[in-house]
Every structure is written in structure tokens, then in C-alpha cells.
């Protein structure tokens, strides 16, 4: 159970407390940013339990690299960068593994579960989006995840992914074209 008293505290305070060994402070950071990380990781890897392992790795890596966090950027941006890097590494690892041992197409590399949510319309949208995202090349998928799932602007996306704004815009445009093609099958 995370200490209630840490709710509402600033990120800087929580970081300092975590560095001093306060487990509850780090628990609050995890609680605060879990959904943000879930959107990135599951948006990229699919809505599955394997994505949770990566999600956990994000926060474990965050904890071990907190001393390197200078506070120049927002903590959310720092966490997001870790999430993006770990997810892209996982995608590369899967591609290498599956290309060596099996012949699977891009969207067969990922699994997704149907949510236990009873809302049929939500489930349908989620499944369509999952399949469409998994059919995209990872470098387009990450842009779409940032824009669609997080609602970041192209400028914020460029900052998080550490790629030029022009590259974000061109990949976004290509992603939109590909998505239109993919989503035609669901009309």
C-alpha cells in the first residue's frame, strides 16, 4: 500500500525522497506514471501480459537511473524516454528471435488480449486499433502511439524520441497513409 501522504507531492520531492531510500515515495512515482507507461508499452507491444514485464522494467530502470536525472526536463519526459527505449529494444529482440527460429509476419510477433471490459464498442475499437498499430512498422508505430494514445504534439514527440521535428512529421504522414490502407479492411 503506498502512503497516502505522498499524493499531491511534487515530482522533485518524490525523486529526492526516493534517492534517500524512501520506498513509498518511489511507489507514488510508479502509481502516478503507470498509465502513461502502459499506454506507450502496450501501444507498441500490444495489450498483453508480456507488456507488463516491460512496464516493470521501465520503473526498475528508472529507479536505478534516478541519480542521473538532473531535473532539466520533466520527470514524465524522462520516464517516457526510458519506456520508448526499452520497448523498441524489446521489438528488435523479438524480431531477431523470430527471424532466426520462425517465420512470422510483423503482426504475428505480438499478442493482445481482449479486455475484460464489458463495453462491446470499446472492446471493438481497442481490437481494431491494436491490430492496426501492430501492422505498422515500429518507427511509425511509436509516432502514432505518442500522438494518438498520449496526445503529445509533434514538438513534444520530437523531444521525447530525440528525433528532428521534420522526421516526426514525415513519419506521421507515412503512418497516416498506412493506417488508412489498413483500416479500409475494417470498414
Amino acid at each position: 500500500m503506498i502512503k497516502e501522504s505522498y499524493r499531491g507531492y511534487e515530482d522533485d520531492f518524490l525523486v529526492k525522497a526516493s534517492l534517500n531510500g524512501d520506498q513509498d515515495a518511489f511507489g507514488e512515482i510508479t502509481c502516478r506514471y503507470r498509465k502513461m507507461v502502459a499506454r506507450t508499452v502496450k501501444g507498441m507491444l500490444g495489450d498483453s501480459v508480456y507488456a507488463e514485464d516491460i512496464g516493470q522494467e521501465v520503473f526498475i530502470k528508472l529507479y536505478h537511473s534516478l541519480s542521473e536525472f538532473r531535473g532539466e526536463a520533466k520527470l514524465s519526459t524522462y520516464i517516457q524516454k526510458i519506456a520508448v527505449n526499452l520497448t523498441l529494444n524489446e521489438i528488435k529482440r523479438r524480431k531477431r528471435f523470430f527471424s532466426m527460429f520462425m517465420h512470422k509476419s510483423n503482426d504475428e510477433l505480438y499478442e493482445y488480449e481482449i479486455s475484460a471490459d464489458n463495453n462491446a464498442e470499446k472492446n471493438e475499437i481497442r481490437e481494431i486499433v491494436n491490430r492496426a498499430l501492430m501492422a505498422l512498422d515500429p518507427k511509425f508505430r511509436i509516432i502514432v502511439t505518442m500522438r494518438m494514445l498520449h496526445g503529445y504534439t509533434t514538438k513534444e514527440t520530437s523531444e521525447i524520441l530525440e528525433i528532428p521535428l521534420g522526421t516526426v512529421l514525415s513519419r506521421l504522414s507515412r503512418a497516416q497513409e498506412q493506417l488508412r490502407e489498413i483500416l479500409k479492411n475494417y470498414e
Binding site: R34, F59, I128, V129, G151, L179
Partner: protein, 108 residues
Amino acid sequence: MIVSSLEDEPDNSGNISKLRESLEFDFRIGFEERVTDKIFSKGAVKKRQDEFDRSFNLAFYRIALSAVAAIVLLMISIFLREGSLSFDSMLGLSDGYTESIICLLTGN
């Protein structure tokens, strides 16, 4: 709606917000506890130490092996060129080079 959610324009109709709501991803209940358990449990600390030791040893042996292989190759090439593995031949001071060394040192 899915493709238009990628545009930078303001979401006046609220459709994009609704789309994001239906796509709300989250981890299973108890996620924070599982994370803090992995980081702070005594077993986790020891495991990290063991992993570091293993990686360090692996790196050391890889570098040491490469260095030994390089030395062996060097000695083989010296042997093939000089015909022996004497101290002089390893330092490049065999008879054939004496004259050229003298020329180099005296400028003649």
C-alpha cells in the same frame, strides 16, 4: 476518427478524447507493489550484485582471450618472418636489420 486523431488540430468535436478513453491501457492491479518488491527485496539486491559479477567476469575473460589470441598470432608471424622466436627477433633486432638501424641512427 483514428487517422484524424493524429492531426495537430484541436479536438472540437470531442471524438478524439472519446477515442483515447476507449483505448485507455493500464497494467494489472498491484503493479506498484510488484515493482517495489522487485527493486527493494533483499533477494533483488543480491541478484543484481550476482548479475554484475557475472557480467564483469564474462567481459574480463572475453578481453583476456582476445589479447592472448592477438599475442599468439603476433608470435606466429614473427616466427614465419624471422625463423625463430629469440628475444632479438621479437624486438626486431635480428642481424639483417643491424645495418639499417646504424644508418637510421647515424644518418649515413
